[in-house]
């Protein structure tokens, strides 16, 4: 156990600190912004696409399963990232309009 903690201490630090940051950062959000915030967070977890890129980039040329699934994963991940950010921007565009007037 102690060995495991020592070996992975960097990761453990990241996990714990990020949990607190995640909670602190959105602690005081007004309810009007719940939806855009959810949508924005949705786009951010699209980082999973980096994993898909690595899978795809490491796949050997004859490993069709990895190639096909990796390709699919890249498409889906991109959908998540691009679609997520564009939808969020569209939602927030509406908010901005009324701020300017």
């Amino acid at each position: 156990m102690l060995n495991w903690i020592t070996a992975n201490q960097q990761i453990i630090y990241i996990v714990i600190l990020m949990i607190f940051v995640g909670i602190e950062v959105i602690g005081r959000v007004p309810s009007v912004l719940h939806t855009p915030l959810m949508s924005g967070a949705n786009a951010i977890h699209g980082v999973v696409i980096i994993g898909a890129i690595i899978v795809m980039g490491k796949a050997e040329g004859d490993n069709y399963l990895a190639l096909i699934l990796g390709f699919l994963a890249v498409i889906l991940g991109t959908l998540n990232v691009v679609g997520g950010f564009v939808v969020t921007d569209r939602m927030l565009e509406m908010f901005k309009k009324k701020k300017n007037r």
């Binding site: 959000v29 309810s31 679609g83 908010f95």
Partner: protein, 476 residues
Amino acid sequence: MELNVLTLCYLVGSVTFILGLKMLSNPASARRGNLIAAAGMTIAIFGTIFLYKDDVGNRLHNYGWIFGGIAIGAIIGTLAAKKVKMTAMPEMVSMFNGMGGACAALISVVEFNHIARNVIPGVHQTYIPEGGEGIVLIILLGLIIGSVSFAGSMIAWGKLNGKVKDFSFKGQHIFNIVLLLVIVGLAAYIIGWLPENSIIIFYCIFTLSLLYGILFVFPIGGADMPVVISLLNSFTGVAAACGGFLYNNKVMMTGGILVGAAGTLLTILMCKAMNRSLANVLIGSFGGAKAGPAGAKQQGAYKEISLSDASVLMAYAHKVMVVPGYGLAVAQAQHACHDLEKILEGKGVEVKYAIHPVAGRMPGHMNVLLAEADVSYEKLLEMEQANEEFPSTDVVLILGANDVVNPAAKNDPSSPIYGMPILDVELAKNVIVNKRSMKPGYAGIENDLFFQKKTSMLFGDAKKVLQDLIAEIKNL
């Protein structure tokens, strides 16, 4: 050297995610926050493509496939996100969330096959490297969470656009718990014993996780979908973080955990806005309560009001309060609504809007819709302000809202929405309710308000009714 630049890219990415989320929780900076996070994401993605090297120093290959996939995803994603109607935004978010979950699950499938391929012919004990149980555990976690999130999001998507109906069977909660235990058991079996047929069990876990995702969301009422989507959103965050552990990739870890934590908190905040607990939303699903109050109690009679009466009532009022709901969004009546506001103000009537925090299908839904129709920001009252103004209001015009004005939330402890703060429209002198029919609202419960003395019903599609009202008022 190149690896250091990539580390820098990831660092920038992580910081922009945190900054982005922070700015997203403040109306003034929200849009910039989104763009900053998007920029950080772009840096991290292209950094990975061009600079990533594995432990042995090999670069990535298959660039054609990678760029092809990104191009296809980017084009479809942009088109879908640009074309989607304002009313369908919640579904869209759910859909994109599902894509992320599926992506995480597929990564796990490929990586597990990668491990299993080197194994099956040889002695299976040796194929797992030192400390490899951890890797298998992470792969399985990513698989399970990713597939639950994917399947659940698809059901939530179907529910929101009306393609999937509520469905539950007796003992479903117990069945779900058993199913989850089986999944965990199989996963533990793979990790602990690494049987030779691991790959078959792996696909069993995959299938069962998809099934669990479906059954998990199925019995939850449509009105609670925002909460469910937010929860699944944080699931996908955790699944992405699993990918981060797998590749020891810091930006995936930070981004994933950040969303996992923030998403969980956001889910709880959304529940609080409805004054309910998360457990209540997930287990005390609306489906079961439907038969009870609706069937048991014979409701009184409601009265209808003609268009001309309604227009006279409003045109000679001092103050009219509009309560928009999902019906307004479905009918795309926000512009007609703004027109009505203008013509009434021309007649010297004070018009305001009372916005319930969870009106529509998502918090903030109504604000966005009305802002699209150029309704001025100052006219939108939050629930507390609106409740203060109802006693001095002559006419309340309810446009396709139901549960957020249901007095059962205050009076009837047996009601599934009991305890949710509502708009006290009863305090006003007259209430006109526009609905398409007498059917109960999304929560599936009757509304006593419609049978009260001061309430009159004006049936029809919100947009059509508003246009007719405008025509009538013009002729007065």
